[in-house]
Symmetry: C2
Subunit: 258 residues, 2 copies
């Protein structure tokens, strides 16, 4: 690893979001920072990529930090592909995504543009971490987490993130650093969203829907991210992108196809 390390920063809330501005500030203390982030919010974009339209990407100066920044018209996954394959002179030593305004614990990892950016970096061979705070407000308070985020990133640089894995870090909502009880390595809780569509009629008389829903945690385990966060721990879940359910291959091999 180079000294200082080259750090790629992205998010899904857009390049001007307070969460990414905090993350940039923390990363400037650790290494040389390049930001490639969406120009507009891209929450809930999952692992979407732009294949049927074009991408634009321009250098931008937002504040006085030493980081180099690009705003990109695409999704978080597009940002990583553009950064690693087009914009950066060499492969970054680490990619950090976030700080997301809102939780990406449990099943939310699947819908999250922030975590998909981290996963895309992993696929491209770049160690990666996604950070998310359990507070979706634009004016969420990121200050209590700065030292923990610095410590987790430095640990990842020192130890090396295991192969084919990225880290999903979620931060409990607390007002002060001293209220964080510690860091727990967890598994993803089994949970899902119970959708409730808000059905309305537009001025032309046509029906439309807003997607709303309630988060349902079906998992009582004390080794899950949901449990840790409810107890005010920071949760770290190692996330893989080999989606194979290896344990059921044997069962499926007993199926008889007519």
């Amino acid at each position: 690893m180079a000294n200082p390390p080259l750090i790629l920063v992205t998010n899904d809330d857009g390049i001007t979001a307070p969460g990414i501005r905090s993350l940039i500030e923390i990363m400037n203390k650790i290494g040389k920072v390049v930001v490639v982030a969406p120009e507009f919010p891209q929450s809930g974009m999952g692992h979407a990529i732009t294949i049927n339209s074009t991408l634009q990407c321009f250098k931008i100066k937002i504040d006085d930090g030493p980081q180099i920044e690009y705003r990109c018209s695409g999704t978080p996954t597009d940002c990583i592909k553009l950064a690693v394959n087009e914009l950066l002179e060499r492969k970054p030593d680490i990619c950090v995504a976030g700080i997301n305004h809102g939780s990406n614990s449990s099943i939310n990892v699947i819908y999250s543009g922030t975590m998909s950016a981290a996963i895309e970096a992993g696929i491209e061979g770049v160690p990666a971490i996604g950070f998310s705070l359990l507070d979706h407000r634009w004016r969420a308070n990121f200050d209590p987490f700065k030292s923990s985020i610095e410590s987790i990133t430095k640990s990842a640089l020192k130890n090396g993130i295991p192969k084919n894995v990225v880290l999903n870090v979620n931060l409990p909502k607390v007002d002060n650093h001293k209220d964080i009880r510690g860091i727990k390595i967890c598994r993803q809780a089994e949970a899902s969203w119970m959708e409730e569509f808000d059905k309305r009629t537009n001025p032309m008389g046509k029906k439309y829907y807003w997607l709303t829903g309630k988060f349902i945690n079906k998992d009582n385990g004390q080794d899950t991210d949901e449990w840790a966060l409810s107890k005010k721990y920071i949760s770290i879940v190692p996330v893989q992108y080999d989606l194979t359910a290896h344990t059921v291959i044997k069962e499926l091999k007993t199926w008889h196809f007519e």
Copy 2:
């Protein structure tokens, strides 16, 4: 399970794509079919959901089959959420997505709207299968696969798909049914895309990009989907949405956070 079973059909290529029209025809032989599919192509949308704008969904009649059909303005994942939570009178017995015009083997599972629809169905507690043909052309020939798709779907209804798992079925490009060598249960091959951005200048003098790339299979295993497909087998990979890399939790617990 009800007799006949209630079958939910979707895709990411759009409701008029020949792939989904073939799938509907096959499913009409097995059960009562309801189609909820995107009105426009949504390839590469991954697990995107529509949270910052509205959704529209209308009944539509496309051909003479007995199926009920809805076209939806959203992503494949939106279609499943709308179908299960708003449009259908009861939970379907199975959800089938596809037939995708193009491969969703290996790492492509992560970018695929078709597979994300199947995964979303799984999360909602509906057994689900995604079907994809290794031919991205609009006029791809789906006929050689009709009996295999019927057989795989019937087997899934009979045996029950294991909990928290959906099936990713990829079909090799062949001209005749007799050229298919059989069905293999596989793991996802380790592979990635090597991106090459096609950089252009627009009429206003601004730079823009098209995402292009080359698929790189790094996996020599003979138990992978890529291997099976290269030998003209149909591949079935069981896919899970618990993304936890359980095997590295122990290693991460040895990390010391300053």
